[in-house]
């Protein structure tokens, strides 16, 4: 920390004249929210490649019927690791990373409220992730060789009991997720304290950028949901290591209890993963429509509504368990209810685009793709919330298609849009827009090829989590199309990586405000100095930079 000179660019790693170790130390010892944010995003993207690789192997296996490319055991490990990685080691850290980078800048603060706690959270996340992957090397147990957890990302009891899960890969799963969960909780505390206490003068709650609002709700959800998961995992650990009986049906323990506890965490979790992406869309879309966001207070109300309702929908993952008509109807109703605020958001985004002067730059393409894909995912979600429909298709490929539309078409498209939008801010250079557009179309086409047919193979009766399927069930063609999409997406992602590395050296210099945007992060230089703002800004409306650029017609007149 002490080695940082008085006027460094944010990417100290690219500073001239610094020794290698000095540069390493500048990053690893940093408590700067911007460096931590970038490290979050960077590590998250590395895990994204790993998780993507796991998915590719699975798709390769499923490309034709009766394939024996990999063994059923390997397949089980792959889908467990893929799901766990994507949820806990990609979605959470990348979104928290963006929040880390952007929240202090957007509210005109110099750093997060607790910078050291922030660094602590990051290192917990990274070591939790490494602990999970260490199971490939270290979880020998009875197998005699390293094995990964193979219990699915939601680790249903009694699959996780010692009888069915020999050795200790499941213990690695528990501990890895628990450790990174502690990291997320500390970060959530930090977000709340920062957003509530560190806003610059004039930044009232109703003038905050929507992304900041979303991060506030996300922090709340993290605080509610993750401790429950931690408690459930502690019980599971007791079961496995101390011989306790929480989830052991033989002595009146309950396997159902795990499902309740897990999904009480699990459903808020999906909103933790999607709300920040909503925030990206709400920031990017107005800028490239050259209009204010449509229905700003309603967006906030919808966000808070989603946050609250999401705590009461968890059992819609459990209809097939047989909860009885009363509970089933309750959770169907609450799930329908939560689609209302989500629908409000979609209409507000459309209202923002309506009549705007649209500029389809790469970030705008991604967020437009987001709205379309997320809408499809949302609609299949409503279908699945209907109990009879769910009974028919629960745990089929239809469900796989549904949540990939939400989490890939939604969250990942949002993240990619955010990468293109804020890359100039973080590095001072633009990403190539031409390559970006190619990336978008490759991703979009590949994504549709892979996940759209999954709905059909699901309806035709293909269950999820099987390592192969038989001929002549009508499943070959749809699985083949799904697998064809993978290399197309991979090409898009590789192009993005190439784009990032090339633009870091040769990209066009961005300047402080390349998109002619309105929120405070564009008021400082790109990349911002360590202290963010030379003078703490004072704002009078939700669009401080609009006011600065158009003093004759400031927003403050209208709010």
């Amino acid at each position: 920390m002490t080695t940082v000179p008085s006027h460094p660019p944010a990417l100290a790693g690219r500073r001239d004249g610094a020794g290698f170790w000095e540069r390493v130390m500048a990053w690893t010892c940093s408590v700067d929210h911007k460096k931590l944010g970038l490290m979050y995003i960077g590590c998250g993207l590395v895990f994204f490649l790993v998780g993507g690789l796991e998915a590719s192997v699975m798709r390769l296996q499923l490309a034709r019927a009766n394939s024996d490319l990999i063994s059923p055991e390997t397949y089980n490990q792959l889908f467990t690791m893929h799901g766990t990685t994507m949820v806990f080691l990609v979605g959470m850290p990348v979104l928290l990373g963006f929040g880390n980078y952007l929240v202090p800048l957007m509210i005109g603060a110099r750093d997060m409220a607790f910078p050291r706690l922030n660094a602590f959270g990051f290192w917990l996340f990274i070591f939790g992730g490494l602990l999970l992957y260490f199971s490939y090397l270290g979880a020998d147990g009875l197998y005699g060789a390293g094995v990964a957890p193979d219990v699915g990302w939601f680790a249903y009891a009694p699959l996780t009991s010692r009888t069915f899960s020999r050795g200790n890969p499941t213990d690695y799963w528990i501990l890895g997720i628990m450790v990174s969960g502690f990291g997320s909780m500390t970060t959530a505390i930090n977000f709340m304290a920062t957003i509530i206490c560190m806003r610059c003068p004039g930044m009232k709650l109703m003038r905050m950028p929507l992304l900041v609002w979303m991060m506030l709700v996300v922090a709340f959800l993290v605080l509610v949901a993750i401790p429950i998961l931690t408690a459930a995992q502690a019980m599971l650990l007791f079961d496995r290591q101390l011989g306790a009986h929480f989830f052991n049906p033989e002595v009146m323990g309950s396997a159902l209890l795990w499902q309740h506890l897990f999904w009480f965490f699990g459903h808020p979790e999906v909103y933790i993963l999607i709300l920040p992406a909503f925030g990206f869309v709400s920031e990017i879309m107005p800028v490239f429509s050259r209009k204010v966001i449509f229905g700003y207070p309603l967006m906030i109300a919808a966000t808070v509504g989603i946050g609250i309702i999401s705590l009461g929908v968890w059992a819609h993952h459990m209809f097939a368990v047989g909860l009885g008509p009363v509970l089933d109807s309750f959770f169907t109703a609450s799930t329908f209810l939560i689609s209302v605020p989500t629908g409000i958001k979609i209409f507000n985004w459309l209202g923002t685009m309506w009549g705007g002067k649209l500029e389809f730059t790469t970030p705008m393409l991604f967020v437009t793709g987001f709205v379309a894909m997320f809408l499809i995912g949302g609609l299949t979600g409503i279908m699945l919330a209907t109990v009879p429909f769910d009974w028919q298709l629960s745990d089929s490929y239809f469900v796989v298609g549904h949540f990939h539309y939400v989490l890939f078409g939604g969250t990942i498209f949002g993240i990619f849009g955010a990468i293109f939008y804020w890359f100039p801010k973080a590095t001072g250079r633009m990403l190539s827009d031409r390559m970006g557009k190619i990336t978008f179309w490759l991703m979009f086409i590949g994504f549709t090829l892979t996940f759209m047919p999954m709905h059909i193979s699901g309806v035709l009766g293909m269950p999820r989590r099987i390592y192969t399927y038989e001929l002549d069930r009508g499943l070959e063609i749809w699985n083949f199309i799904s697998s064809i999409g993978v290399p197309v997406q991979a090409a898009g992602i590789l192009l993005l990586i190439w784009n990032i590395f090339r633009s870091l050296r040769k990209g066009r210099i961005a300047g402080p405000d390349p998109w002619n945007a309105w929120t405070l992060e564009w008021a400082t230089s790109s990349p911002p100095p360590e202290w963010n703002f030379d003078r703490i800004p004072t704002v009078t409306s939700a669009r401080p930079l609009w006011d600065a650029k158009n003093p004759e017609n400031p927003d403050a007149h209208y709010v």
């Binding site: 505390i189 401790p227 408690a231 007791f238 101390l242 011989g243 306790a244 929480f246 506890l261």
Partner: protein, 184 residues
Amino acid sequence: MAMLIFMETLFFSGFIVTYLYYIGKSPFGPQPMDVLELGPVIVNSVCLISSSFTVIFAVRALRRGSVGAFRVWLLVTILLGIEFIVGTALEWRGLIYEDGLTIRTNIFGTNFYSLVGFHAFHVCVGLIILIGIFILSLFGHIKPARDHGRVDVATWYWHFVDVVWIFVFTLVYIIGRVPQEAVS
């Protein structure tokens, strides 16, 4: 700190709900009404709950500026907390060696040791915080004018541990001891 406590509350609520769910569902082995004795637990509870008051006195003393009284009250709090831990340890010793109830015996044992054990663990964490403050004050690092707010916030955790105990006590020693027939 308020948010940390919020989070911890959720963590405990997970265990408490589980405990409630399993009350009277432990078909064999020692039953709560047979093995849990109220006498020693009430002594422990009185100690723990009164320690919440003594820590308030300590903070008030610090706010007045009298570091001496602060140290005395803080020490009393710490001793009361240690009594609670020792009392729990003795109770567990009796349960394990005389009644043969361990975490693997039955579902009651599983729940009992997890919930009470996690609470005792949190009491220990609280004690470590208080002892840390006490040691700092012995070396003169606690300045009343500067630090009374900080110490106050630190004692919130102690109050939280107490409140959780009230819930745990009600659940384990009162509701949980009602004979099964009365529940069903």
